[in-house]
Amino acid sequence: MSSNEEAEERPLVSHRTLDIAVAIFFLIVAAIVMTDSLRLGISWKPNEGPQPGLFPFYIVMAMGIASLINLAHALPDTAEGEKVATTVPGLKRMAAIFVPAVVFVLATNYIGIYVSAAIYIGAFMVFFGKFAVWKALAVSLGIAIVNFMMFEVWFLVPLPKGPLETALGY
């Protein structure tokens, strides 16, 4: 990746924005869990102790309160909060591994984990690591085959498989 000095400077998200977003995420989780806890009952039954919802309810209540405080801390416009959390090139580099990872997991559903992993590793080596294609092929196929032997043949742990493995009789 050609690290461009200018691009390095371009901020994308500040700490403040991220902090607010994560605090809100916590609040949403708290709301969801509280709703279901109320359905399950949150009282203390005589002879039996707490109902199934009691613990989750009060725990996410604590979480909600803590998140509100975190939110309150994050909201004011401070110098600390304006510090850059992620830059555009940083995000791009993360996307370079993460987006293909999402594609890899999605592809696993259709072509099996071994084939999609071989493609994922190979493609990453070629496009990102600037490896020669034959090296990438050798490494990616090697990793896929070693794992295949290990899981499917020796340890008999079934992993998602696709048409290729079916054609080979697995």
Binding site: N47, L156, P158
Partner: protein
């Protein structure tokens, strides 16, 4: 089974096949064999009764090479086994999947409302019935079932603690059935994660009684720490070999003859997926028969004092229908049905 490609071996194979056809003309239909590894789904966690039996079957199949393809065992214990059963339901067209059941095939859909039923799978065979025994700590003064039931009746409501595996599952169902015979006095049912732990909690006097399966508590019985009061079966066990110095499984009276008319047994059965063809079911039945013919299996059955009832086909389905109705009834009475 015959791996050499020599023509001699082939002739033997043909001869064997021919004789098989002669002895069992009903099996003359097209033979089926798995074309890829068979997955045995365990709807329970590692180390439990179903898990032990499944891994034992896997071992026997491997040791005696009863199947050309390997048998793979996986645990899918989520949601009291619902996860495993839903997987079986979802792969209705894959005959390379079988599952081993415990009572949760009935109790889980009733207790949690998970959307499946044993009819979503194809019954293969009942391997055995697992027994339940009423145990107390041997330090306690209850020598017989009657002593214990009297003590429960005389005590305060919920004074006596019954330990068991899981919630709204077989152990609690047995407990609920026993409660109907104790003059309105209820137990405090304490659910634990596994049968072995339940037995140890009883040895440590943290609960007053349990309804452990024989295999879960036999070690403590032999060490004189636990006392079996009665067995929840219609007849006494048929195993007469001495387990402790003085007693055999057959010496444990039935609960009925001890004045506690409760019967309950747990299914240990094998199912395959719903759309399996008759020849595929026949293959598994045949495989299980071979497993059951091994001395290893007989030893395993005796160790756990299993009730060796083997059933297939319509008999088995009839049994399942009755058992389902029974569970539904027991759970309704006990108030364990899912509210959704």
């Amino acid at each position: 089974m015959i791996r050499t490609g020599a023509s001699k071996a082939r002739t033997i194979a043909i001869a064997l096949a021919a004789s098989a056809c002669l002895t069992a003309p009903a099996l003359a239909q097209q033979k089926w064999e798995p074309s890829k590894p068979v997955t045995l789904v365990i709807p329970a966690g590692t180390g439990g009764g179903a898990d032990q039996m499944a891994r034992f079957i896997q071992g026997v199949v491997q040791k005696h090479s009863l199947m050309k393809q390997p048998l793979i065992v996986i645990n899918k214990a989520g949601g009291a086994g619902a996860e495993g059963f839903l997987e079986m339901k979802a792969s209705a067209n894959d005959p390379h999947k079988i599952t081993i059941t415990l009572s949760n095939v009935f109790t889980t859909p009733l207790g949690t409302g998970s959307p499946f039923n044993w009819k979503d799978m194809k019954p293969v065979a009942m391997l055995a019935l697992d027994q339940f025994i009423l145990w107390t700590n041997s330090e306690k003064p209850y020598k017989t079932t009657k002593d214990y039931v009297e003590a429960v009746k005389a005590g305060e409501d919920r004074q006596f603690k019954m330990g068991g595996t899981g919630s709204k599952q077989e152990d609690q169902i047995v407990t609920a059935a026993v409660e109907q015979q104790t003059g309105g006095k209820k137990f405090t049912y304490v659910p634990y994660a596994g049968g072995g732990q339940v037995a140890v909690q009883l040895v440590g006097n943290h609960v007053d009684s349990t309804v452990n399966n024989p295999i879960e508590a036999v070690g403590q019985w032999r060490a004189g720490q636990l006392r079996p009061l009665c067995i929840f079966d219609a007849q006494r066990s048929t195993y007469t070999a001495k387990v402790t110095e003085k007693e055999a499984w057959s010496d444990i009276p039935t609960c009925k003859e001890s004045g506690l008319p409760v019967e309950y047994q747990m299914l240990r059965g094998i199912f395959t997926t719903k759309n399996a063809k008759p020849e595929q079911v026949a293959f598994y039945v045949d495989l299980l028969k071979k497993v059951m013919a091994t001395p290893d299996w007989k030893e395993f059955m005796e160790k756990g004092a299993f009730n060796q009832t083997f059933m297939t086909g319509p008999d088995f389905e009839k049994w399942l229908t009755t058992a389902e109705a029974l569970h539904s009834d027991l759970m309704k009475k006990a108030g364990f049905l899912a509210t959704q």
